[in-house]
């Protein structure tokens, strides 16, 4: 069985940002076949969502299509931020998932995470307002939390500290991949 990997981006910046590119590379090195996704309705140079209330509807246009195509192969989903609206789709298809900076303040995302039957890794930073440490641990036994990291997993201090934090995230991702793909 192929190990397909859907890389679902945040609302800006696409699927190649560091917090997606390195986890995706970790999956590729384990035989994952990467499918990097770009929102078709977005001009990547401007924020995709003017009003946060519109976010699920915005995302759903592409998510419905992507999961209709790829869901049946039960891909690993690596999603970040706005991409965490894919949680309901991942649950419906029984896809394992890695959620980077998921929007835990959004009911739709949390409901999707609660409905999951396959293993999920949640990654977030304590300085990210969309993160919720208690809720994350309630939703999954697999949580990697970075102290003081913001929504882009950047920590205060020298930039190399953020690269070190990213290395810790990637190590957690690799452990998770080895667990689900053995």
């Amino acid at each position: 069985m192929t190990r397909r990997v859907l890389v679902v981006p945040g609302g800006m910046n696409g699927p190649m940002v560091p917090t997606l590119a390195f986890p995706a590379e970790a999956a590729a090195r384990r035989g994952g076949e990467l499918v990097p996704l770009w929102w078709t309705r977005a001009d990547p140079s401007v924020p995709a969502i003017a009003d946060p209330a519109d976010a699920p509807a915005f995302a759903e246009v592409d998510l419905a299509r992507w999961f209709a195509e790829h869901g049946p192969s039960r891909p690993l989903v690596i999603g970040r931020s706005l991409g965490s609206f894919a949680a309901a789709h991942a649950a419906r298809w029984g896809c394992p998932a890695i959620w980077m900076n998921p929007l835990l303040h959004r009911e739709e995302v949390v409901a999707g995470l609660r409905a999951a039957t396959a293993p999920a890794l949640l990654v977030g930073g304590t300085a990210d307002r969309s993160w919720n440490p208690g809720l994350a641990r309630e939703l999954s036994p697999r949580v990697h939390e970075v102290a003081e990291a913001d929504h882009g997993l950047i920590v205060p201090g020298p930039l190399t500290a953020s690269v070190t934090a990213l290395a810790g995230v990637v190590a957690a991702v690799e452990d998770f991949l080895d667990e689900i793909w053995g």
């Binding site: 800006m12 910046n13 696409g14 190649m16 940002v17 560091p18 590119a21 390195f22 590379e25 970790a26 090195r29 990097p36 770009w38 001009d43 990547p44 140079s45 950047i154 930039l159 190399t160 953020s162 690269v163 070190t164 990213l166 290395a167 990637v170 190590a171 690799e174």
Partner: protein, 184 residues
């Protein structure tokens, strides 16, 4: 003068891919405003399939981009396909950080040769578009990683590639502090 940075992406990942993103973060931490350019005529991921055509389509963006941002005298941070901006950076006399530049392409090399402001070249020996010897003939500021490919990934455990990323960030920061916005 206000510090500014112009980030020009490669053909695949956009300006927030790891190498340009962290390099721009380094500039931002030093007080620079950052403008991220997104190609208007290059579909993400398509550049690798037809580099000549991608270079042509990239060039369509670059004239207007530098007309707009050149006067602010930004630091140029560019990855791969973005190195097609080398002639424009030279024309405007701008310092630059070229991440995995396309050293196999004549106009890129000519642009680098014409530069009057300091520039850093970052590349890996396993990148077919890189030429370490040529790089060192173009500038004294070269950061080369043994065995790194066009994405600056190296073989072996992925943690080794993250260590490379950390080293690139450190080299970028050292270059900025010494040659772009010298620390008093």
């Amino acid at each position: 003068m206000t510090r500014s940075t112009l980030v020009i992406p490669g053909g695949t990942g956009g300006p927030m891919a790891p190498l340009p993103m962290y390099s721009a973060d380094a500039a931002e931490l030093r007080g620079a405003t950052v403008h991220h350019h997104w190609w208007t005529q290059v579909t993400p991921g398509s550049a690798g399939r037809d580099l000549a055509s991608a270079l042509e389509r990239a060039d369509a963006d670059l004239g207007p981009l530098f007309e707009e941002h050149g006067p602010a005298r930004p630091l140029v941070i560019a990855k791969s396909l973005g190195s097609s901006a080398a002639p424009y950076a030279a024309k405007w006399g701008l310092p630059a950080i070229w991440l995995t530049p396309i050293l196999t392409h004549e106009s890129v090399v000519a642009g680098l040769r014409a530069a009057t402001a300091p520039f850093l070249l970052v590349g890996g020996t396993a990148d077919g578009l890189w030429d370490g010897e040529l790089a060192r003939s173009l500038t004294p500021h070269v950061f080369e990683v043994d065995g790194a490919n066009h994405g600056m990934y190296v073989d072996g455990p992925l943690q080794a590639s993250l260590a490379v990323l950390g080293d690139v960030v450190a080299a970028v920061e050292a270059f900025i502090d010494a040659h772009v916005w010298p620390v008093a």
